[in-house]
């Protein structure tokens, strides 16, 4: 099955119809909002597909990498908080350096000393002593930074650079995290790796929720700079008003649609580049080697392929793509809300996209991203409609009726699970199977 096969074209046409239908039935604004997140979902799905579809790595820590990308958006684009840097910036940095030095020191001690009881005591001693020195320096810095106008800042801020730069930086940040995780956890077998990545995602989220000096924690960073113009600016500009006047359309609605279209343009560009690269990679000798390793690790290893190094490589690549998507998503939202990162949405839903779309096939992952994201949003109104039909025979204040209507929102979890199970059972290779 190639990218241009009739079934693939039909499926993509079907998804296009869904979005266009949304535009006609609800509004073009809604359709574009879903479409933009669909683009980001497709990129996340591409990342997971690299790890699972190419290499068979079971990563359920997608959320952690996405969140790191979001953090990158803040670190790159927000203006630096000068007072905070003056008050405690140096101490925070010194503390972090001490923490890193402790870990490196412990690893060196472990490697240099001969195995034995002495080493068993020396390593924890280095770690414990290092931890307390780190905390002593670091905590002072953090207190100083967080006390600078906590209602507005209370953090170090970012570099004040254009936010589009945050996208590759988000990818790099996620890649760095993936390197550390891969080094420690890739030796584990699949189930253990899954749980290790699940845990690391939780750690990344709890760090982002609690380290206020870094990204304001649960106080959230809002009003991130935009790569596209603001609606009010458009509405105030002459060329825009004359244009809407010519076509006789409402300038307010049109400005919001134009902003969304600009985002969509940027995202489509990124998606196209990624798809092109992924397709090239998958169809290269490298891609064939990856699939060979996935299908039979032992014989690939016997053929002289370095399985562990290849796994690390693809794990880093896939995670970087997720980080990139995370940075793009935060750009689109215009704010970083650490508490909104929930595994059901940012990890498991992406998995549903990959499995339903077709693991091992980049076009499948993209299709899954759009289709599942559309469903995730639309199941709620559809569920509500369904409940209204079911309960239409009941009286207004019937307890069951009220409960059913209120609970319609939870239909989406149920539906996603059902779709995943049905596809896994009856079309285990997904809607667009691997070639």
């Amino acid at each position: 099955m190639t990218a241009g096969s009739p079934k693939t074209v039909l499926l993509f046409a079907f998804v296009t119809v869904l979005f266009i239908g949304t535009g006609f039935m609800q509004s073009w604004n809604t359709a574009l909002t879903i479409f933009n997140m669909g683009l980001i979902s497709a990129i996340m799905a591409l990342g997971v597909n690299m790890q699972w579809g190419y290499a068979g790595l079971f990563n359920v820590g997608v959320m952690g990498f996405v969140a790191l990308g979001g953090l990158a958006a803040v670190l790159v684009s927000m203006p630096p908080v000068g007072e905070a840097w003056a008050a405690g910036g140096a101490k925070v940095l010194a503390g972090l350096a001490l923490g890193a030095a402790t870990i490196i020191g412990a690893i060196l001690v472990w490697q240099k000393m001969p195995p034995g009881r002495l080493r068993g005591l020396a390593v924890p001693a280095v770690l414990v002593a290092g931890f307390f020195i780190f905390r002593a320096v670091f905590d002072q810095g953090v207190d100083a930074v967080e006390s600078i106008d906590p209602a507005l800042t209370g953090y170090l801020g970012g570099l004040g650079l254009p936010i589009v730069l945050a996208w590759p930086v988000g990818g790099l940040l996620a890649a760095g995290a993936a390197w550390i995780i891969g080094k420690t956890a890739l030796g584990l077998r699949s189930d253990y790796l899954a749980i290790a990545t699940l845990g690391i995602a939780e750690i990344i989220i709890s760090v982002m929720k609690n380290e206020d000096w870094l990204g304001r924690g649960v106080k959230n960073v809002t009003a991130l700079p935009r790569p596209v113009p603001y609606e009010v600016e458009l509405q105030a500009s002459d060329w825009f008003l004359s244009l809407t006047g010519q076509f006789g359309v409402n300038p307010v609605t049109t400005s919001s649609i134009l902003v969304k279209l600009s985002y969509a343009g940027l995202f489509i560009l990124v998606l196209l580049v990624l798809i092109w690269l992924s397709e090239k990679a998958l169809n290269s000798p490298w891609g064939r080697m990856m699939r060979a390793i996935r299908d039979n690790e032992v014989s690939a290893s016997a053929m002289g392929k370095n399985v562990k190094a290849r796994h690390l490589q693809i794990f880093i690549l896939g995670s970087a793509v997720c980080g990139l998507a995370g940075a793009m998503m935060t750009t689109l939202d215009g704010q970083l809300v650490p508490s909104s990162y929930q595994p059901l949405r940012f990890t498991f839903l992406v998995w549903v996209m990959v499995i339903v779309g077709g693991s091992g096939n980049n076009w499948g992952a993209v299709l899954g991203g759009f289709l599942i994201w559309w469903l995730w949003i639309q199941v709620e109104p559809i569920g509500l409609l369904l409940m209204q039909v079911i309960t239409s025979g009941m009286v207004e204040d019937n307890g069951l009726r009220i409960h059913l209507l209120e609970s319609a929102a939870y239909m989406r979890l149920l539906t996603m699970g059902l779709i995943l199970l049905l596809v896994l059972r009856f079309s285990p290779r997904g809607l667009i199977p691997e070639r």
Binding site: F58, A194, S206, P343, R412, L413
Partner: protein, 336 residues
């Protein structure tokens, strides 16, 4: 006197809560470990199985409370627990019939089961939220304390009070009974022995005429009972909220893995290792140290290693350290 105060403070804030939490984790981890040992996959739906069992128990509890039935000083939920277990048993067996049996028959790779369990997790999560909503539900009634802090202070004359809540006492007692029943079953009954044989060596067990479907059926029933009990005890001790139960997956998996996947004794050990490290690493030791040191040396800080929000990070940190040094857990679990 101060030394005693320090011990009481430690018992009150660390030892008792950690023991109760450890028992809840151990019951959860036993379920995960049994599934892993016999069906050979990590069941991601386990947290939501616990939530489902607890939810049915809560609904029955409310019905009983509405009918005026109570257990006096004990929580009514204990009366409702068997109903919860039966409902959860039916649910998991139904799930096995509809979902997992197909993959068993087709000898699918373990990771396919795990992905299927993600689907089951979504569905159970949705069902629970659909029926009971996402909010906190409290269903504990009866006597709140076995010993309250005030009674303890009056009794002993110490400055520091020790409170033992009914839910904590019950958790420990019920967990001991459940574990004893489980080990009796696994070691003494015919079915239990065939379950262990199946877990040790599937081919040999099949060769000696053990019916695999029967083993699987009993495993799910036991898992349902353990999961419901763990879920209800956790709910009585803290509160019931579907999302919290989903989040429990991480410490439960950590317990099962730290102890050694597939090893029931390991699951219990792992549960307590995780619970004690979680609570003691995030507890502020200032009070305890304050009693022990002379006044002049009293510490300024809270003496807290990590903020309480990092408790999931602690479970995972312990997990990673154990795996780095003992890749199959403390008690040598299996790796497939």
């Amino acid at each position: 006197m101060d030394f005693l105060n320090a011990i009481v403070a430690l018992a009150n804030f660390v030892i008792i809560p950690a023991t109760a939490y450890g028992a809840q984790l151990a019951l959860g981890a036993l379920g995960v470990t049994l599934i892993y040992g016999i069906l050979r996959f990590s069941n991601f739906a386990h947290g939501d199985t616990m939530a489902f069992g607890a939810m049915v128990t809560i609904l029955v509890t409310w019905a009983l409370q509405g009918a005026g039935v109570s257990l006096g000083p004990l929580p009514t939920a204990l009366l409702a627990l068997p109903a919860g277990i039966v409902a959860t048993g039916l649910l998991v067996i139904g799930t096995d019939r509809v979902v997992y049996r197909f993959y068993r028959a087709h000898k699918a790779k373990p990771v396919i089961y795990v992905i299927a369990s993600l689907g089951v997790m979504f569905i159970m999560n949705g069902v629970v939220r659909f029926i009971i909503g996402v909010d906190d539900q409290r269903f504990a009634d009866g006597e709140r304390f076995i010993i309250s802090a005030r009674t303890f202070r009056n009794l002993t004359g110490l400055d520091e009070g020790l409170a033992l809540r009914t839910s904590q006492g019950l958790t420990i007692v019920i967990a001991i009974i459940a574990v004893m029943l489980l080990f009796w079953f696994l070691n003494r009954t015919r079915t239990g022995k065939s379950m262990r044989a199946f877990s040790d060596n599937e081919d040999l067990a099949l060769l000696s005429g053990i019916n695999p479907e029967r083993v699987v059926l009993y495993t799910w029933l036991i898992v349902a009972a353990l999961a419901t009990t763990a879920g209800v005890l956790y709910g009585l001790d803290k509160s019931f909220k579907p999302f919290t139960y989903f989040q429990l997956l991480l410490p439960i998996f950590a317990s099962a893995i730290v102890g050694g996947l597939g090893n029931p004794l390991g699951a219990i050990l792992g549960g307590f290792v995780i619970a004690f490290s979680e609570i003691s690493i995030t507890y502020a030791f200032r009070k305890v140290v304050g009693y022990l040191l002379p006044e002049a040396w009293e510490p300024d800080g809270l003496l807290q290693l990590l903020s309480t929000d990092y408790k999931f990070a602690v479970s995972f940190g312990i997990l990673l350290i154990v795996l780095l040094f003992r890749p199959t857990g403390i008690m040598k679990g299996k790796s497939i």
